[in-house]
């Protein structure tokens, strides 16, 4: 904007924006603050000045109870992402570079499977998992998470692949590159950022999934979602420790989310908003 924005207007807008942002972010902030309070402080009433003790984090780390669900979350999030990419890249590739009349329909159908409510198939999934011994296993969870996020992964990769200008591939062809040469030297390097963004989004979605990860697990494979959910009826007072556990649970995803804002818009609106 070439016009001079009055500094006064900018200050008012800034004050308003920061106030709103503070209010929205407050619960997270408060949780982090509580995690460095002592338990007594945690229930002593609203206080923004903790004693900055890290005893809660130490406690949380010391208990193997916490390490297990954390690792479960990591395994199923990363696992479902890798498997998803392996399945989705070829599919998105062929749809982007050799489209047919049915390509659009297939894509739409894939997206529609994402819209099916999980609870609608809770019963058969529970029974299948119980009868095949997949109940409370990381493998079972990984499979489910791969399937529910596959449509979004395929979709996002498809949009990224389509953005690679055809002329650059033609230039490579004119320059004497074979099909493999085209793929290795030109296509893949240009597609890597898109693939990375898609993987990031998949990890976020898998980590935060809070239905299958709770209903299909027990002591063995429960990831952080189920672990934290199990504290819904607290015995005794341990909000500081729970805050520490929660902070550790959301921290990686929060940071990933800050970096992948654009991908979020692209992936979750199925491209309807760019």
């Amino acid at each position: 904007m070439a016009r001079r924005i009055s500094t006064r207007r900018k200050i008012i807008a800034t004050a308003a924006a920061w106030s709103v942002a503070f209010v929205i972010f407050f619960p997270i902030l408060y949780m982090v603050l509580t995690s460095v309070k002592t338990e007594a402080e945690a229930i002593a009433g609203t206080s923004l000045i903790p004693s900055f003790t890290f005893e809660n984090y130490v406690e949380v780390q010391a208990q193997r109870d916490y390490f297990k669900p954390f690792m479960n979350s990591v395994i199923i999030a990363v696992g479902s992402t890798l498997i998803g990419i392996i399945i989705a890249v070829p599919a998105a590739w062929s749809m982007a570079f050799s489209p047919t009349k049915r390509t659009k329909d297939i894509l739409m159908w894939m997206l529609s499977t994402k819209m099916m409510p999980a609870v609608g198939v809770l019963v058969p999934m529970f029974i299948i998992f119980r009868d095949t011994g997949l109940l409370d296993t990381r493998l079972g969870l990984t499979v489910v998470l791969t399937l529910i996020n596959l449509p979004i992964v395929v979709w996002m990769l498809y949009t990224y692949f389509r953005e690679i200008p055809g002329e650059i591939l033609e230039a490579a062809r004119m320059d004497g590159a074979s099909l493999t040469g085209e793929i290795v030297y030109v296509l893949t390097p240009m597609a890597v950022p898109g693939i990375a963004s898609t993987m990031l989004l998949n990890i976020i979605l898998a980590w935060n999934e809070a239905f299958w990860t709770i209903r299909l697990t027990a002591a063995n494979a429960a990831p952080l979602t189920a672990f934290i959910a199990s504290f819904s009826s607290p015995q005794g007072l341990f909000w500081a420790k729970l805050s520490a556990a929660s902070t550790l649970a959301i921290a990686p995803i929060l940071i990933m989310g800050w970096f992948s804002q654009r991908q979020l818009v692209r992936g979750l609106t199925f491209g309807a908003v760019k």
Partner: protein
């Protein structure tokens, strides 16, 4: 590039994704449909048999079912209202020139990345707790009695938590759409004598209409399935006050062990979601044509 060879190759490359999703879609749904017509209770495996429309009838006449439908619509409607209106306002605010825009954006989008159990626990026990929660302290500061949110306004509390989680999504989408509005269009409107309210009504809102539609449709799909927040805070109670359709089905399946009944409920939930999905696919499909 489309010779017969490449066409077969393309089909092979698509096969795993298509086959897996096909199985994922058909097998469980078919089973749900089958069970919905069965008498099947996990506690009583001997008593199996064809039930006809009994399960559906039971659902139809169960007051809990209708309450769950009402609760579902309240949650969806309430969250949509808060997130769309709030999202538009927030998007307008964030579109203004401000200092530290990047940081503000990060703060505002954070709730979306918090996993539902954590969000629910933090809100219930640290913000809304009548004893030592932040709201309670604020109320006492103003000399008022603290509200026991989950006892007095349980459904509203759920709506608040879910809305907090989805507000960033709506804001981000609407902000992106807002920033795609051609600067020159706004300037032309200004030259034509339109003040801010007019520009909003005739220029900005129509431009946002499409994104608002997308936000509503996508959020609805996910809001119909709100689960973890209810599980962690109220378990559907008091009574059925915070039970939505998803939670009711869960209860029927895994607390009453009534597979038949839960399956009937599942079929209903799928039909409901499909209706919304049809509208969404039309909106998305139009965009794929570009």
């Amino acid at each position: 590039m489309a010779t017969r060879q490449t066409r077969t190759l393309a089909r092979v490359m698509m096969a795993p994704a298509v086959i897996l999703l096909l199985i994922w879609m058909i097998v469980p749904l078919a089973m749900t449909l089958w069970y919905s017509f069965q008498n099947y209770n996990l506690l009583n495996p001997m008593g199996r048999g064809f039930a006809g429309w009994e399960n559906y009838y039971y659902f139809y006449t169960d007051p809990a079912f209708w309450q769950s439908i009402r609760n579902t619509l309240t949650i969806v409607g309430g969250v949509l209202l808060i997130t769309v209106v709030g999202g538009v306002l927030l998007a307008l605010l964030l579109d203004q020139p401000i200092f530290g825009q990047g940081v503000v954006r990060i703060l505002v989008i954070s709730p979306f990345f918090v996993m539902p159990p954590v969000a629910a626990l933090v809100w219930k026990n640290m913000i809304m707790h009548p004893g030592y929660g932040v709201f309670a302290d604020i109320a006492r500061f103003f000399g008022m009695q603290p509200v026991d949110w989950f006892a007095q306004y349980p459904l509203f509390s759920i709506v608040l938590i879910v809305a907090w989680q989805w507000l960033p999504f709506a804001t981000l989408i609407l902000l992106t759409a807002l920033q795609s509005l051609d600067e020159e269009q706004k300037e032309a409107a200004e030259m034509d004598g339109a003040n801010f309210l007019n520009r909003f009504r005739y220029l900005i809102l129509p431009h946002l209409a499409r994104s608002i539609t997308v936000v509503i449709l996508i959020q609805t799909i996910f809001l119909l399935a709100v689960y973890a927040e209810i599980l962690v805070t109220t378990n559907g109670g008091p009574g059925y006050a915070t039970t939505n359709l998803a939670f009711l089905i869960y209860r029927t399946a895994l607390l009453s062990y009534d597979v038949g009944g839960a399956s009937a409920g599942g079929v209903i939930a799928v039909i409901l979601a499909n209706i919304v999905a049809i509208f969404l696919m039309r909106a998305v499909g139009r965009n794929l044509d570009r």
